[in-house]
Point group: none
Chain length 198, copies 4
């Protein structure tokens, strides 16, 4: 019964909050934080506008929620990659994941990167530095892989790899050309392959 007729408790509450976070992440990625209105997110989540404020006290909290949604996705991704046998496979899996998002990147850029760029223009509210946290998570994981590969300066290599991803996403987006993702992705894969383990 409760199965066929979901109660407010099972369907609502947490579920609605989750829906709002997902909607925020998606809409903010496509429209940008500044151009996105609460109404946009509410509509996407199929929630009445006034109700949004029951879950998030301000628009900034919703933007922060979008960011933490990206963080969640990132954590999911790396936990999946961690199942791969070796660091080289994991790094290549990461790159393949990026290339798999070629069309989305060509249209809207990297979700985290573009949000970081936009939030970085602020100078109050604390959100301006928040995006850095997510970026750092990725950098740390990538550096771990390079370290496991026995590479010197794993942190530097992580900057190079993640930077390359951000750069290729931005160019693919600016040129509206998913091919950039393919070409640069292939180059990165080749680079990873060329590294000899210690």
């Amino acid at each position: 019964m409760t199965d066929s007729k979901e109660t407010a408790r099972t369907r609502g509450a947490g579920a609605k909050r989750r829906r709002l976070m997902e909607a925020a992440a998606d809409v903010v990625h496509r429209q940008g934080a500044e151009r996105t209105t609460i109404a946009d997110i509410a509509r996407a989540a199929e929630v009445p506008v006034g109700n949004v404020y029951y879950y998030f006290k301000t628009k900034d909290e919703l933007v922060a929620a979008a960011l933490s949604e990206h963080e969640r996705h990132l954590n999911l991704l790396v936990s999946q990659l961690d199942r791969l046998p070796g660091p080289r496979e994991r790094l290549k899996g990461l790159i393949e994941g990026w290339v798999g998002q070629r069309d989305l990147a060509a249209r809207y850029g990297c979700p985290t990167g573009t949000l970081a760029a936009e939030l970085g223009k602020r100078d109050e509210g604390g959100l301006d530095v928040e995006a850095g946290r997510v970026v750092r998570i990725l950098l740390r994981w990538v550096a771990d892989q390079f370290r496991e590969l026995g590479q010197p300066d794993p942190e530097g290599l992580a900057l190079t790899l993640v930077g390359a991803y951000q750069g290729m996403s931005l160019l693919a987006n600016a040129l509206r050309d998913p091919g950039v993702m393919d070409r640069e992705g292939a180059r990165l894969i080749a680079w990873i392959d060329s590294l000899h383990a210690a």
Copy 2:
């Protein structure tokens, strides 16, 4: 003729227009296009708000002006670099210029790149693709240098170099760490040095 005919009024007008463009480029870089108001730009340019509309009919035109101002800067830069004896020197000069802007990049990112990311979120008005034009100018020039160096796939290498720049700017910005510019800049210089001319 235009010289002899230029009155104080027309010169003043031109000067105002120029001031507005420069202010737009600067303020939009620091605050982002969406968060910047016409009044912000007018104030920075020391032009009365109501007067702005004699030079730019809409806010979008002002944003386009900011973009063309970046284009102008880019053209100035490459015309200076073109005076250097060889393509390798020119590419290294370009990279050194990027690193020279390390603090600005760490605080606000690459002016063109962040604007491209922001405008890319739009889907009407034409501005969404405009930023690509400026990026393409840079890509073309860089490809020319690689070509002159006798490198195969100069366009691909250009994507790699410019992408690396966009990526390192974004990371420096997200992490608020100018050191990223130094490290990655050094790596790019070393890469250029390692290429053997044909």
Copy 3:
């Protein structure tokens, strides 16, 4: 009967209602009726928001409850003062009670007076005149004391005394100076002392 029949449920309910009234009186005194939200009162009373409406159908009823709470306090006070031997002692006891609240008055004014001032701005809902009722109770009691003292025009003297209290509370509040209560309180005591009984 009601004693033996009172279950934990009904006692709990009554307790909640009482808690809500006390919270309303307190919070409304400190924040003003208009700035106080139902949620503020619910929180102070430790009652879930949605539950408030089982005890008070509207916010106005809660404000009325705050007023009646002040009325209850007033009744308690005069019933205690009535135990004093003579009218002069009772009036002086009243004044001493006022001065005893000096710090509260300097911070938030007289609970009834400030609420009367706020509600007096309304012109519908009936609450606008309600505060007058409480004021009248005090005036009547004070007049009774003056009458018992054999003073002519006891109602007029009551207006003077209660008016002096309201005035000194308001000034103490506006100037944030509890000393006003001391000084004017002493003057009123001296005045009462100076009256010779008939």
Copy 4:
């Protein structure tokens, strides 16, 4: 011509700001600061809502403007009273002025006093203490008169007189009875008359 057809400069600008201040003072007096909306004031001043913000950046600034309007009225009043030959006449003139406002006081209380009571409930924004400034101006002037009359403790007497005014206004308002103003006004006049100059 400019006479028959007032220009925006002569009619607008300052005049509109003035109109808004007067409307704010009036409407806030009648409705209270909290219940008054920007739209209420805009309507009373015959100004479009959006335009209000050209003159006052926030609602709080409008409330502050209402307060300063009361301050202006007070300054006008005392400067008129200052033309009277002696301090006794001036004080009596002040009281007569109060009594002259009997109906307004009975309906809405003293403009400054009720605003002070309402703003005193706030604890941030600075407006909470602002009303005290206006009260102090009156107190100082009244004390000056008592001093000129050769009375000891002129500041204390000022507190008593102004407090009496605030108290009678509040009671007249709470009881909706202008007669309170007459009776207490007469008492105060008699008091002033009873003081013998030094």
